[in-house]
């Protein structure tokens, strides 16, 4: 009976349990520490409810648009082979891993008041358009999250066994039939999870929403937390707002699970996928147009960042290079840590028939306010050690936890497929423990593992995270150094540091991601 879940093996149970406990400690535990210090929760005001409404609306629209736009882009990438495709896929991922401030500057160079688009419109005799407002917030969130949605969907497309396409070609399926029988079930399985992930990312947005929202009407819950924390010095209200954020996360993750269905394609033989269905000229044109537009939207701001910073790169002051080395260390530590956490969690989740509590738990870090997490952690660690001395390991740990939801999104579907496809065979052969991990699990998960490792390393590299709460003068990471350069009027050096950060993040991402699909034809 496939429905009767196999009892989890002991090491898996211990690993998943430890990972779950750590996630709980960093999310609910830190919140509890802040609440305890505050001496209880405080009531929310009318402005807080307005912030909640704005937060939910922008997050919903941003997530819906990101996911909808990602479908044609991912489909085009999945069914086309062209020179530079691998590089394009890597580059398309870049916006997601950029520090907010850098990305916003890049977006403004293109879409801002004196940006390329407006200059073009003005040259053609049209009026200038303003990016600031609700649409600006959504545009920026789509810029950040479209790449994530594309990559996660692309994983889904690549996970459809080549044999299914072969069969559909033999049956004379036309693109519409492929969509109905292969693509839609895959999307049905993946979309709810991806949508909720992006919804939650946008839920905790603060700097993007405020900067591009044009004013206080674009107040999000995270900003309200900042206000409670550092304007009103009201820890209780900050904690209440953070708890509300976590509650929203739980509701959203729970809803997504109800809509999520396993796709059940069965296993294939990992032949290279050939797409007999995609040869029609109209389809080729359609895909070319989609890829051109998508690439232009995502790459133009990156090009602007690169152009602004490249000339400064060679002249960057020594502290920036030191910070870069430190950040590389943090990123690698964070990656090792994240994989150690994510693998047992993903495998444990995959062995159950339906999504469950454990899976939602993995989503919690997404909805955690970084300010509350940092503060709570600070309160918890202070009796044990001087926070400054722990700055780097703590940053690596927190970054790993923050990346967990993305890793799980990538790993769980693949782990589930491996379990559904090969689990019974492996059981009947008595393949268990390390041998099973080495011979079955890791090879089957290689591609998403590489992607997850790359994503974690890059995210960790670019994240300002909790280091700002813990660092002293000597232990700055590259993103913190970048902010310091900006704070010291050195915008040109900051632009150089941004390019260095972008290059290192993308480099790390590329190496890991490449390692994960060394055998792929892409």
């Amino acid at each position: 009976m496939a429905d009767r879940a196999q009892p989890l093996s002991l090491p898996l149970r211990v690993g998943a349990g430890a990972a779950a406990a750590l996630v709980l400690a960093l999310t609910l535990g830190t919140l509890g520490a802040v609440l305890l210090r505050a001496g209880g929760a405080s009531a929310l005001g009318a402005a807080d409810w307005a912030a909640l409404r704005f937060t939910l609306t922008q997050a919903f629209v941003s997530a819906a648009l990101s996911v909808l736009l990602a479908i044609p882009v991912a489909r085009a990438l999945a069914r086309r082979r062209f020179p530079g495709r691998g590089i394009l896929i890597t580059l398309l991922g870049a916006p997601f891993i950029l520090p907010v401030i850098v990305a916003v500057m890049g977006i403004l160079t293109i879409f801002g008041r004196s940006g390329l688009v407006n200059d073009g419109l003005a040259a053609l005799g049209f009026g200038r358009i303003s990016i600031y407002g609700f649409h600006g917030v959504v545009l920026a969130h789509v810029f950040f999250n479209l790449p994530l949605a594309v990559r996660l969907l692309l994983q889904g497309w690549l996970a459809i066994p080549a044999e299914r396409f072969r069969l559909s070609a033999a049956l004379g399926f036309r693109p519409g039939d492929i969509a109905r029988h292969l693509e839609r079930p895959m999307l049905r399985a993946l979309l709810p999870g991806i949508f909720v992930t992006i919804f939650l990312i946008c839920l905790t947005s603060f700097a993007v929403a405020l900067t591009l929202g044009g004013g206080p009407k674009a107040t999000t819950i995270e900003l309200a937390i900042y206000q409670a924390f550092r304007f009103d010095f009201d820890l209780g209200r900050a904690a209440t707002l953070a708890a509300m954020q976590l509650l929203l996360c739980a509701i959203a993750a729970g809803t997504a699970m109800r809509f999520s269905l396993p796709s059940g394609f069965g296993a294939g033989l990992d032949r290279p996928v050939a797409r007999w269905d995609a040869g029609a000229a109209t389809l080729i044109l359609q895909d070319a147009a989609v890829l051109t537009l998508g690439a232009a939207f995502l790459l133009a701001p990156l090009a602007a960042i690169a152009l602004a910073g490249l000339p400064q790169l060679a002249g960057l002051p020594a502290p920036v290079w030191h910070a870069a080395l430190r950040s590389l260390g943090v990123a690698l530590g964070s990656t090792a840590f994240a994989l150690a956490l994510a693998l047992p969690l993903a495998l444990a989740v995959a062995q159950r028939r339906r999504a469950d509590l454990l899976e939602s738990l993995g989503m919690l870090p997404l909805a955690t306010s970084s300010l509350i997490l940092g503060t709570g952690l600070f309160l918890l660690l202070r009796p044990i050690a001087s926070p400054g001395d722990l700055a780097l390991p703590v940053t690596a740990l927190v970054n790993a936890t923050m990346a967990l939801p993305f890793i799980l999104r990538a790993l769980i579907p693949a782990a589930r497929d491996a379990h559904e496809g090969y689990g019974r065979l492996a059981d009947s052969l008595g393949l268990a423990g390390v041998a099973r991990l080495r011979l079955l699990t890791l090879p089957r998960l290689r591609r998403p593992l590489g992607f997850a490792a790359g994503l974690t390393a890059a995210l960790s590299m670019g994240d300002l995270g909790v280091i700002a709460l813990f660092a002293d003068g000597e232990r700055a990471t590259l993103p913190l150094q970048l902010y310091r350069l900006m704070g010291a009027y050195r915008m040109a050096d900051a632009a150089g540091a941004a390019v260095l950060l972008l290059a290192l993040s993308l480099g790390l991402f590329w190496i890991f991601d490449r390692g994960g699909r060394a055998d792929a034809d892409a």
């Binding site: 900042y226 001087s386 350069l485």
Partner: protein, 329 residues
């Protein structure tokens, strides 16, 4: 990797403990300790004369710094807190965590009289709208002129940024009950509101707005460090609001004597001469050698506005809700 990082952390902790010298811990904001801020030079200068180890601990900006101290309460490791401004000192003093500074009267070069039993100023500046001379021919001379013009501005959010809060109190101090009206009139000039100073200033330099809320001393950076004299600050006829940055010692400090020495050192030339070209503010006591060349080109507003620290805390909640109402429409 993680292990080796932790080892490094422990090693750093043990070497610090192994030194016989007393350690003075100074909490300050992040940009003070950065390589480009005053921190490194101040540390060298003070350690040369105190026979101690001066340790800076950084925490975001002024408001984050105060939250950190309030969060730690009496168990704080801080001996001195450096980097609060007058909008925060009332809350800080009310916490009871700070001791009176007990320093002899100093002749401060501030546009206002300084009387505060807890806190001593180390630098100050006027908030001002900074613009590019080559792009803005007629700079506004007051808020009403700015509101009536087509000029665009980018400002900072008072809830997350110190200059943003300064602007809030500036308008309130200049216009009192009319503050809400001024904000409504300014609404169509405001391109956007940023979380912090860096974003706003970066956007201004990229040409997103004609003017940015910063300091009258900002053009000095461009002039001295970049040889660029196109930036200027607008003096307003209502007066420009002051930011006075201060330090105070903690009542619970176990290095009370060293903390006193640091506060005394803070107003001497060795500290004050570092300020103009690292913090890009006016030193609280002008060094004997005067201000660096270039500072004489800066505009000096005719009037300095400053809400007394005790009133600032009460005023800011009203001012914030006026601001929010006017700009949320």
């Amino acid at each position: 990797m993680k292990k080796s990082l932790m080892m490094a952390g422990f090693l750093a902790a043990t070497t610090a403990a192994a030194q016989e010298k007393p350690v003075l811990t100074v909490y300050t904001y992040d940009s003070f300790v950065s390589e480009w801020g005053p921190g490194p030079q101040v540390e060298t200068a003070f350690e040369a004369e105190c026979g101690c180890d001066l340790r800076f601990v950084a925490a975001g900006d002024g408001a984050a710094l105060l939250s950190r101290v309030l969060l730690e309460g009496e168990s704080t490791e801080a001996d001195v807190v450096l980097g609060l401004d007058t909008n925060l000192t009332a809350t800080a003093a009310a916490s009871g965590l700070f001791a009176e500074h007990g320093q002899a009267a100093t002749e401060f070069d501030l546009p206002v009289d300084w009387v505060d039993p807890h806190f001593l100023p180390y630098d100050w500046g006027y908030f001002a709208f900074v613009y590019d001379r080559t792009k803005v021919a007629d700079a506004p001379t007051d808020f009403e002129a700015l509101a009536a013009s087509d000029l665009t501005i980018v400002i900072q959010d008072p809830r997350s940024s110190t200059p943003g809060l300064g602007l809030l109190l500036w308008v309130k101090a200049a216009y009192g009950d009319r503050a809400g009206e001024i904000w409504s009139a300014l609404a169509d000039n405001i391109v956007t509101v940023t979380p912090g100073w860096s974003e706003a200033y970066g956007m201004f330099l990229e040409g997103e707005a004609d003017l940015v809320l910063s300091y009258t001393t900002s053009p000095a950076y461009h002039l001295i460090a970049e040889g660029d004299d196109t930036k200027a600050a607008a003096a307003f006829s209502e007066g420009n609001y002051l930011q006075v940055e201060v330090a105070g010692k903690l009542a619970g400090s176990d290095q009370g004597e060293l903390a006193d020495r640091f506060l005394a050192f803070m107003v001497t030339d060795a500290f004050q001469s570092v300020i103009p070209e690292t913090n890009w503010m006016y030193p609280a006591v002008t060094p004997e050698a005067g201000l660096p060349t270039g500072f004489e080109t800066l505009v000096i507003p005719e009037k300095a506005l400053l809400v007394p620290a005790a009133d600032a805390a009460a005023l800011r909640d009203t001012a914030l809700s006026e601001w929010q109402t006017a700009l949320s429409r």
